[in-house]
Symmetry: C2
Subunit: 340 residues, 2 copies
Amino acid sequence: HSRQFEVGVLDWFARLWEIEKDEYWGYITNCGTEGNLHGILVGREVFPDGILYASRESHYSVFKAARMYRMECVKVDTLVSGEIDCSDLRPKLLANKDKPAILNVNIGTTVKGAVDDLDVVIQTLEECGFSHDRFYIHCDGALFGLMMPFVKRAPKVSFKKPIGSVSVSGHKFVGCPMPCGVQITRMEHINVLSSNVEYLASRDATIMGSRNGHAPLFLWYTLNRKGYKGFQKDVQKCLRNAHYLKDRLHEAGISAMLNELSSTVVFERPRDEEFVRRWQLACEGNIAHVVVMPNVTIEKLDFFLNELVEKRSTWYQGNVQPPCIAAEIGKANCVCALHK
Amino acid sequence: HSRQFEVGVLDWFARLWEIEKDEYWGYITNCGTEGNLHGILVGREVFPDGILYASRESHYSVFKAARMYRMECVKVDTLVSGEIDCSDLRPKLLANKDKPAILNVNIGTTVKGAVDDLDVVIQTLEECGFSHDRFYIHCDGALFGLMMPFVKRAPKVSFKKPIGSVSVSGHKFVGCPMPCGVQITRMEHINVLSSNVEYLASRDATIMGSRNGHAPLFLWYTLNRKGYKGFQKDVQKCLRNAHYLKDRLHEAGISAMLNELSSTVVFERPRDEEFVRRWQLACEGNIAHVVVMPNVTIEKLDFFLNELVEKRSTWYQGNVQPPCIAAEIGKANCVCALHK
């Protein structure tokens, strides 16, 4: 086994998210989804009749969890940025004041990289009359949970705030070669979940039971090799390159958006499915996105941009116009015929 | 990605379990537990008000699933062998005739390696008036699901019988270096579970969402290198060595049991925790077990036996007697002071 490495990795994240060694419980998961499944299950076991609130732009695993766990789930609207809209959360909380609230807070949404404002979510809960023993917050930090601590001015994810759990993926920003993730919750919550498994001489409080022994080794190695400074450098490079991409897209007359705290550039969906496949672009409706990771260089971005610009000149000729995506990314970011 | 290898592995298992290529749906899971979580979830989605029946000696993930999914769960007694006791299943089914039945059938229990008799379970369901559209059977073949097809006289796991899903582990008998498993179900069932995930341009019907890309490579390689004949040889060797271990334990005056279709030898729990740790023995109550895998040689078994016999001579002196484990393994297998 590789338990001592797993513990080392967990301690690193516990420090990052400001929780004492003897107050947290965690494990290395098989992926970001397992973290969400775990966090939401802990929330449900703490509040068996709690209602799950999650923004529409939450990862699909959040809604899968609600269905699996037979939980009542309320979808909350989002702002154009992709952030949860607390002016929509408020009436929905007030309409269900008799039941505890379980919240999924996105530390970077899947498509737009939007970061829900944890402090405003907590303030909204408090203003709606939910005391700290009537809500549970799970922070889904799949990709950005590991980048945000290194971004100046970013709202802080911390167990000093009334949150219940945080999860991140290990195969995205950290670059682990197999799907994995980190899940941290409060020790006080885990006892409601765990059950004694005698033949293992241990208690099981995970979702999957089995864990990959290699994943902690890769995570531990990367955390120690790069260190805090190395991650900071990587994050800064990603944000710089993402800004470069967004600026160049705008210069080329292509609608694009970049959230301030994110390295995910959202732009108009390319018209040609072959181009989408070749660049492995994830698309949703009229938009596509590029997630600028540490391995993405300026040269690669230029190559991509040049090809996109060239292809567009063949897609949009005569009466064929690029799509308007103001609804998805806001008028200010849209440069369609109407909004430019 | 390694999709073509994953499909190759799934096709191999579909052939083994006798289901046509266009009639099955499956994937490579992260572990045996994910297979059970999936199979039972499919059962629940097919029969939302179904009751889950599982023998007491089922893997703990089965009861975890019932709790996660908020399903009514009925525990069924077992025979001394560890097999499900259908004379206890019958009245429990009859008491709940108004609700569909979801059954977990063990193809090798965790502790005793007992194989539930699938045919008798189906017959019991039919005799209790459950028509084929009123029950769902998930076969948990964690370890032994892959060995049994190569054992003469073993009851057959086959989709020609009215079963819904089968799962096996890939890191046990196949020896994959990371936890993984294979899950196969009927295509007709999967549509109730899957939901469209636009940004992935695919439908998600798994538990974890992310899959390990290396696992299918290891599985594919091992299946193709060993082949049917190679597995048969390995299984025969394991059964032969397991019989050797049980016989030698009996000869040494140590209570022990070996189920006919299994390579899991159950024996009295060693008195010394240091010995248990050193040999990494899984214990439950008064019993421990050794799972004889292909890497376990006669030499290793002899080494283990000699050490056990030597230690026992220091544990059991004067008035201190070895424990009676007739309740766990039957009088015939117990050689305590009373039963020998």
